[in-house]
Every structure is written in structure tokens, then in C-alpha cells.
């Protein structure tokens, strides 16, 4: 018993010696639980942005807008702005066009077609919009002819691509692929560097006629190539097993993949630099992976989160990675369309690399 307690005390002292690892161990669950709880709290009522193009300007449009405002954040805009919010800025899952003379047709018991401009990449939110529209239609039906046929008919038009619905696999496969590749690259880079330090092999490499940048660059390039291969294989598997679309522009997809893995590699070096010991790598690595994946939309669509968290999420490269994949896979975007996102990812990666190179320690442990 005494020896057992002695060993326990010795181990506790060892754990307490690495204050940072201890801190991560205690803090990580709190941080992750908080972030996940906030993310899963979902969009509160009314936070869903719903642009409405009111070409009717009549009482039916007024009733519809009032009814929809009870469930979503309705903004009245013109048609180009509505398309920009859905397809350009991608901050609204759908926009509703109430055509001219809807009220007059409604009063005369003649049906009108409401146009629903959608971004199928936001399938669940579009489902919510359709449900809200049904509720509004029911409200409108209270003022309609009780015997008449359906007076408000809905026509859905995808303004971001050619498809009208997106299977769940097309959200999940890229999201989990990003997560697992990130795990591989981050732990690979961080453990690789720490192992070299702890094994003392870093000393051999440092005394060899190899510049510091070449040493780091070589190690990172290896991880980058492994990560890229892993990502390509996961997408191919998703394509074959789950019918994951690879978009209509393979070069654009390749460009996004390269930018994403490059960014991950730079980010991994930065995380490795901040983990002062091998023990710190796991809690620190898991924390950033979980937070970045949760916020970046790898586990669930970004629009499921509260608006303020969606804003915060823009700081994470995973958000840009997922947006890039969604642009190519779900929205059929081409090279020119993904270039801004690719630019952000490459810049993000460069900054992380610079920070990592500056702070990473290559001296023996």
C-alpha cells in the first residue's frame, strides 16, 4: 500500500511539473464543452436571414412578410440583392420572390407562384424556410377562398448550382475528411518535431549542413504530401461509396485541396511551436482540432450555429476550407470562384508558417 501511494505521489509530481500540460488537461474540456454547447444551441428564432423580394407591394405580400417575420429575420430587398445574399455572400439559405400582382390574383382567387431562390448547400435551412412558408401560407389561407385551390404555389430555383437537393453525405464526407486529415497533419508535425527533440536526433540534423528552413521545410513537405494524399483518398472513397459529387471543376477542387492541406501544415507547425512538451501536444492539439472543426462547419453546417458564432468562425481556416469544398462540390463553382477562398487559405497558412518558424524550438529537449 505504501509503495502504491509512493508511486502515485511520484506520478502526481511529474504531472504537476508540466504546468502547461496540466492547464490544458483541466481547461480543454471546459473550452470544448462551452464551444460545442454554444454551437449546438443552434440558431435562435428569427436569426435565419430571409430576403424577400416584394414585387407585389400588396396586402398578400404584407401578410406573408408579417407571418414569416415571426420565424426569421426578414429583409425586403430587390432581386439582384436577394441573389447576392444567397449566391454571392452566401449568408441567406433562400430568398422568396413575391411576384407582381400576387395580391390581385389572390383576391380574384387565381393562383400565384412564389419563387424560392435557394442555395442547396444549406439544405436544412431551406427546409426551415419552406416550413415557415407553409405556416405563412396557412395564415394566408385563413384569408383565402375556403373552397379554392392552392392559391400560393412555390417554385424552387437553385441560384448557386444545378442541383435542388444535397444528400447529407455531401456535408459529412468533406467535413470529417478535413477533421481526420487535420488530426494526421497536426499530430504528425507536432509529434515529429517533439520526438526528434526527445530522441536527440534533432542535434544530428542541426549539425548537418542543412539550413534550419530546409530542415523544417522538408519535414513539413512530407506531412503536407501525406495529408494531401489522405484527403484525396477520402474524397475518392466518398465519391465511390456515398456518391459524393466532386463538382464540375476538378482543377478547382484540386486547388482547394492543396490550399487546405497547406494551411493545415502551417497551422500544425504553429500549434507544435506552442506545445512546449510532448505531453502538451495531445490536449492542445485536440482542443484546437475540436474547436476548429466545430466552428468551421466540419461536423454540422455553419448556419446551424448562432449568428455571433458564425462571425467568430470566420477566424478559423476550417470555415474557409469547408466553404471552398462546398463551393466546388455543392455549388458547382469553377476556378475563378474559388480563388478568393484559396487566397485566404494560402495567406492563413503562410502566416501560421511564419509564426511557427519563428517560435518552434529545434534544440534538444
Amino acid at each position: 500500500m505504501r509503495s502504491l501511494l509512493t508511486i502515485t505521489w511520484k506520478d502526481l509530481r511529474l504531472i504537476a511539473r508540466d504546468r502547461a500540460a496540466l492547464l490544458f488537461l483541466v481547461l480543454v474540456p471546459f473550452v470544448v464543452v462551452t464551444v460545442l454547447a454554444e454551437a449546438l444551441a443552434g440558431s435562435d428564432t428569427g436569426s435565419l436571414l430571409l430576403p424577400i423580394v416584394n414585387e407585389d407591394h400588396g396586402p398578400v405580400a404584407t401578410v406573408l412578410i408579417e407571418a414569416l417575420s415571426e420565424h426569421a429575420h426578414v429583409v425586403e430587398v430587390d432581386r439582384p440583392e436577394a441573389e447576392r445574399l444567397v449566391a454571392g455572400r452566401k449568408i441567406a439559405p433562400a430568398a422568396i420572390v413575391v411576384p407582381e400582382h400576387t395580391s390581385k390574383r389572390y383576391l380574384a382567387s387565381r393562383p400565384s407562384t412564389l419563387l424560392l431562390l435557394t442555395d442547396p448547400a444549406k439544405g436544412a435551412a431551406i427546409g426551415a424556410v419552406k416550413a415557415y412558408l407553409l405556416l405563412a401560407d396557412r395564415k394566408a389561407a385563413e384569408i383565402a377562398d375556403p373552397l379554392a385551390e392552392e392559391l400560393l404555389v412555390m417554385e424552387e430555383r437553385n441560384v448557386t448550382g444545378s442541383r435542388s437537393s444535397i444528400p447529407p453525405a455531401e456535408q459529412n464526407v468533406p467535413g470529417f475528411s478535413v477533421m481526420f486529415v487535420m488530426m494526421g497533419v497536426l499530430f504528425g508535425v507536432a509529434f515529429g518535431l517533439h520526438d526528434e527533440r526527445e530522441w536527440g536526433t534533432i542535434t544530428r540534423l542541426r549539425i548537418a549542413p542543412i539550413p534550419r528552413l530546409a530542415l523544417l521545410g522538408g519535414k513539413l513537405l512530407a506531412r503536407f504530401l501525406v495529408g494531401l494524399l489522405q484527403l484525396v483518398l477520402l474524397f475518392l472513397y466518398g465519391h465511390l461509396a456515398f456518391d459524393l459529387s466532386l463538382g464540375s471543376a476538378p482543377v478547382a477542387l484540386a486547388l482547394v485541396m492543396v490550399a487546405v492541406v497547406f494551411c493545415m501544415t502551417g497551422f500544425s507547425l504553429l500549434v507544435a511551436a506552442f506545445a512546449r512538451t510532448r505531453e502538451q501536444v495531445i490536449p492542445l492539439g485536440l482542443t484546437v482540432i475540436m474547436i476548429f472543426c466545430a466552428l468551421g462547419g466540419c461536423w454540422w453546417p455553419l448556419y446551424h450555429m448562432p449568428p455571433w458564432l458564425q462571425q467568430v468562425a470566420q477566424l478559423g481556416f476550417t470555415t474557409w476550407a469547408m466553404e471552398g469544398f462546398h463551393d466546388v462540390i455543392l455549388r458547382d463553382r469553377g476556378i475563378l470562384d474559388v480563388l478568393p477562398g484559396v487566397g485566404v487559405l494560402l495567406t492563413y497558412g503562410m502566416l501560421c508558417l511564419a509564426g511557427g518558424v519563428r517560435f518552434v524550438r529545434l534544440d534538444p529537449a
Binding site: 401578410v63 382567387s109 384569408i143 383565402a144 373552397l147
Partner: protein, 198 residues
């Protein structure tokens, strides 16, 4: 004496026509009175249900829903036993009043405008418009004099006659369904109204 009698007969024959000459203005007055009464109800305090009850009474005062119902269903009604005819006309009254009020209630605090009445056979068409900030909505009332008062025998919304609209719907329904099925459909559609205080 025969001349006097002839004059009397002529006067008696022309009387309705002479009355009719002044009648269009009375028809407009009847419509105005109804719409203003409806507006008063809408603006008064009270719950939606209380207002609906009052509005139904106001609308029923002007709309001759029995005439509209007979016109809408056409010859099919005559073939039915009296109790079915009565039930149809009762249900149609509810359908029509509800449809009319629901259309009227679509507008928040409406302003009404009136056009000069037009005589069409034995009817007077009273043209009204609901004026909103962005558009005008035309609602014409086909008015006929019945038992010394003016009643609407049709309402034409934006050029579409409500009676004709129902006529087309009934004709379409009766092509595939029986009169009893039509009654059943109307009963089901009007169930919430049956439950409301009339």
C-alpha cells in the same frame, strides 16, 4: 274614361322604370353604407372573433347569398330534395360571407373609393376600389332591388366574379362527384365556421 284608365295603366307599367331611373344612386348608397359599417366594426375595439360576428351581420345585410348560390350551382340544385337545397344554400351563405370578409380583412384600415354606377339590365354595377399606398383594388358589386332594398347579387373582384368562380368550381366538382359529396366537402370546409358563434 278609357283614356284615364289607359293613362293609369301606363303609369303603373312605367313606375318600376321611373323608380329605376333614380335607383343607381340608392344602390351606391347601400354599398357605401355597408362598407362604412364594416370599416366601423374593423376600427372598433374587440376581439377578432367578435368583429367577425359583427362583420358577418353587416355583410349578410347586403349580400344576397341565396341568389348567388342558386346562380353558382345552376340546374343541379333543382334536382335535389328541398332539405338538400336548403342545406346547400345555408352552406353557400357561409362560404360566400367568409370568402368576402376574408378578402376585405386582407386590407389594414382600407380606404374606399367609388365610381359612377352603371346600369346593366335590371342590375346596377357599383364600382368601388380599395385604395392602398401602392395600388388600387377594384371590387364591383352587382346590385339588384329586392323587396324595396338593394342587395348585391354578385361581387366582382379584380374583374373576376365570385359567383362565376364558384360556378366553375361547382361544375368541375360535380363532373366527378355527386351533389352529396359536394355538400360534404362544403360541410368539412366550413366546419370551423360552424363551431364559431354566428
Amino acid at each position: 274614361m278609357p283614356i284615364r284608365r289607359s293613362v293609369l295603366v301606363l303609369v303603373l307599367m312605367l313606375a318600376p322604370a321611373l323608380c329605376g331611373a333614380a335607383a343607381p344612386e340608392d344602390a351606391v348608397t347601400a354599398v357605401k353604407k355597408t362598407l362604412e359599417a364594416a370599416l366601423e366594426v374593423v376600427r372598433a375595439s374587440g376581439t377578432r372573433d367578435e368583429k367577425l360576428v359583427s362583420l358577418r351581420a353587416v355583410a349578410r345585410d347586403m349580400l344576397d347569398t341565396r341568389a348567388m348560390g342558386r346562380r353558382a350551382i345552376g340546374d343541379a340544385l333543382a334536382a335535389q330534395p328541398p332539405e338538400k337545397q336548403a342545406e346547400f344554400l345555408d352552406l353557400f351563405d357561409q362560404v360566400m360571407i367568409r370568402a368576402y370578409l376574408q378578402k376585405l380583412l386582407l386590407f389594414r384600415d382600407p380606404r374606399f373609393g367609388y365610381r359612377a354606377p352603371q346600369t346593366k339590365g335590371d342590375a346596377v354595377i357599383v364600382g368601388t376600389k380599395i385604395v392602398t399606398a401602392t395600388d388600387d383594388y377594384h371590387v364591383d358589386y352587382e346590385m339588384r332591388e329586392r323587396d324595396g332594398r338593394w342587395v348585391a347579387t354578385d361581387v366582382i373582384v379584380e374583374g373576376i366574379s365570385l359567383t362565376e368562380n364558384y360556378r366553375a368550381q361547382f361544375a368541375s366538382l360535380l363532373r366527378n362527384r355527386s351533389f352529396e359529396e359536394l355538400l360534404d366537402l362544403m360541410r368539412r370546409k366550413m366546419r370551423p365556421v360552424h363551431e364559431e358563434p354566428m
